[in-house]
Symmetry: D2
Subunit: 297 residues, 4 copies
């Protein structure tokens, strides 16, 4: 082959208005900055299109929370009640007849998949949950910013956006839905010297009378039929390299009997399962295709 | 220069018995595996030598805890009451007239320096402390083990030895000394794709009535005169690269008002401040030299 | 999913003799150490099977050269004349009616694809060719050897096996076939701090009267219809990351007019196009499938 | 310590004119972009100051070559004959009574130290020299450029500025001085996924009648008394990690008898021996201090 660089060389980029898009597609993926997605979604939805959005704009149900965490007024608050928080493993039952899907990104995905089983089975306290997440540099997007330069990031780790990262808004919104109780969490994200991948390490106190068997049951019930979520055997540790370039989430947990706290660790590829991979899952669902179509496990 | 590799090329390695050593030195550094240090220390101490030990053998005061965490019976339990836990920033007042110094390694150093100010000022709960530590691969020592091969570790992170890592034994022993109360902690170590460096990210609940000013006072009082411990200004984040190849520990903290939990982050170079650097600090102290002599800050 | 790690979790490993294999397959891939492949190939070929070998055993046509470079006597020298050097882009015309295919590994592949066009069009001197190759650590195989440990390789580069690396034997054998003249080359391999990928940087003197247009013609003629070999446009530089996890080879060249030397740079993923990828190309060819079936470009 | 970051925290940066500088120092280091150094040097020299320059401005003796390679007219061509090319291991005999020192950067240093012994002893052909250099990313300076972002450089290698990199101008100027003959070389620089360090891999044809013993004699004679240049024993390979954070250059060579070409490999830390380290050597020399004062070997 001459002058080309692999299978992506023939992609054509076009500058399209929402109307241009609407005339050419039934399902539209919006991979736009927050604040811009909400402008594109309205005209598309008005023309009956299905919108799968990867921004934060339709994830947060309360426009005041959106303002608090994103610092700008929401541009289409009337759409918030129509959107569904589109993490398929937790919410695919709500997808029917919906037209606006808000796919969560990497932090919420890695955290919500890890905490959902214990919350749904009422095994852990809502109070005192501590989350440390470690992210690859690609999580920041493609930027010519000194902070993301090779010489600043190689052989280096640091926390950032602590103690109140933007994504806390949707993490807590969804945890409240899962637990049914007021839930705030401590969340500290860290930047790793790797391009792709995310690990979340979560600690929560077990409720009284709960044992490790209950925890295992909850995880197995939640995920035994899930294609993209694997629960590792006791003693096995999730590793980022095992999920890079896949749509998989791997989970493991351990009970520290001395503190009666449960430690849950999850790994995903932030560039796949964090947003784009589940956007494809959502599309497959809409089209009644197998959810794993076109995705690597 | 011919056939040599820099300034370390002239080092001479000798196979020495404790008696050989005793005849040639007044202060002896033992950098030996646990179980071996305790065999070397006795004859050296009997001959009046000062022993600065870098193993775990004399850090744990209770031989039953030693047995529980290291799986072997202690070989010189009678020496345990004579040893001092040699983290100079916390314990240099106890160094006088001592002959046996047990220098803590990287995990306890990065954690104890981070928690000591809040514990000494009674600002945080002993319950519900959650520690996530991230370590460079050199923490495992120089080993031809597949787990530490480049292809397994590059671009990868995983937790290991969780939920009950060996170093919990001394971390909790020392936290109890600091807090005066029963204290167990959740501790999850992770392996980073870097050679040197360690970051500990710690979450603890503030006691009622405590505010961020009290916390800052406690950190400043503890460390304002310390050469090797820096408390960063609010909003600054510790980075591993800023301490690599130095004996420094950098600390920062933030209060998450939504959960009333304090997040403390510390960074050190596990190959310096973790054991060998403070061994030199101890020697300087014994010789009445400035504690920072020969060390990089 | 429970207790599994992605799509490779269901692979079954069996301990099979050549006869076991022969009873269950028509085409057999041998991924065995040199010296072992030659023992397995004979019984398989006797039973009419097709053998696609990834070792060095059938690449070198002269058993004395094999002895010189591998230090052991060849175990099946009678098979050497039956085997074909299976680099599809150069030799697929010779595949017809063959049963024994010797797939070259990463160094020869990255070098031969780079030099073939100029040699076939008689554009460069056979004398004074200088090759520097840079390899990811996975090129050494999965080994618990200190040399390949993270702490020895990270942030480090060194030459190795210089000036006479084993693969020179087959590189020169094949260059002689391409040039028709005696050809020896200088070859220095280096170890990079990356897991996957290889870059070869090659310098050769242009013959008199040859210009850059002749060179471009030669490359375009050779590769314009090749699926897995791309010739970049002038001024573009091959990058390892553009071919990692693909079966592609990307090539670029530049003429240094001051020295009248041609510099050719090629990149491949040593774990794909280096041996295993072209083994699949060969199988596809045998089965009359499109050569790119099952491979990523 | 409070609010500081190690031993560099107290540095004070000032905006100074050449006259300000002249009033406060006798020896001035200029670490300025090319084109700016030449503006600063004149007023300093006029006031009798010694200037140690780290830019390209005074390295190239011929202003036409400067224009060809840097694309701008030289601003102080009258100073070119006063400056000395300040690679101490090769030119310290010329330092006496000089006031303007042009310190070479990383590429010329790693290449000239490697080639000087063979050229001075007339052992290699001036024709057909091939140089491949591999550089850490810090060689590009501190820049928020996408090309130097972590996600573009990690796990990646590529050639750049080939086939005519700017530094060829001074490399060839100095090689001509060493060889006494017209000398052009092929030079291909590559960008490595490491922060610091440089490796140059050089191939040159031995002259007739020259053997490996002559080569070893030449290297030993040149460098046996040099503090910062080490000639490794036969069979040993230079590694970047052995010189990082030092002012050392390590060299090794091997004769490929099949091609009668000599392969020379050198490693340095591009942030030390490349410019700043030898600037300190030069200052030590001027001040009649031991040349290694303040530098790590």
């Amino acid at each position: 082959a001459l002058g080309i660089r692999g299978r992506f060389a023939n992609l054509i980029f076009e500058d399209l208005s929402p109307n241009d898009v609407a005339s050419r597609a039934d399902i539209v993926f919006l991979a736009l900055p927050h604040g811009v997605s909400s402008e594109f979604a309205s005209p598309l939805l008005e023309q009956g299109k299905t919108v799968i959005d990867l921004s934060a704009d339709f994830r947060i149900k309360d426009e005041h929370v959106y303002l608090e965490f994103y610092g700008v007024k929401h541009k289409a608050p009337e759409l918030l009640k129509e959107s569904v928080y589109a993490l398929p493993e937790l919410h695919r039952d709500e997808f029917k007849n919906r037209k606006l899907f808000a796919c969560p990104g990497c932090y919420p995905t890695s955290i919500l998949l890890a905490l959902a089983p214990a919350f749904k089975s009422d095994l852990i306290d809502c109070d005192g949950i501590v989350i440390n997440s470690l992210s690859g540099v690609s999580g920041a997007g493609k930027k010519s910013d000194l902070v993301y330069s090779f010489c600043e990031r190689d052989s280096n780790v640091m926390p950032y956006s602590w103690p109140k990262h933007r994504h806390l808004s949707e993490i807590e919104q969804e945890l409240v839905r899962l637990s049914g109780d007021p839930t705030t969490v401590s969340f500290t994200p860290h930047l790793l010297p790797i391009v792709r991948g995310m690990l979340s390490s979560i600690s929560a106190k077990l409720k009284e009378g709960v044992d490790l068997g209950n925890v295992r049951d909850a995880f197995e019930t939640s995920y035994k039929d899930e294609h993209f979520v694997s629960v590792l055997v006791d003693g096995d540790s999730p590793e980022i390299r095992h999920v890079v370039k896949t749509n998989s989430c791997q989970l493991a947990f351990a009970l520290d009997q001395r503190t009666n706290r449960l430690q849950i660790v999850s790994v995903i590829d932030n560039l796949v399962k964090g947003a784009s991979g589940q956007a494809v899952q959502v599309m497959n669902h809409i089209l009644q295709l197998p959810e794993e179509e076109g995705l690597i496990c």
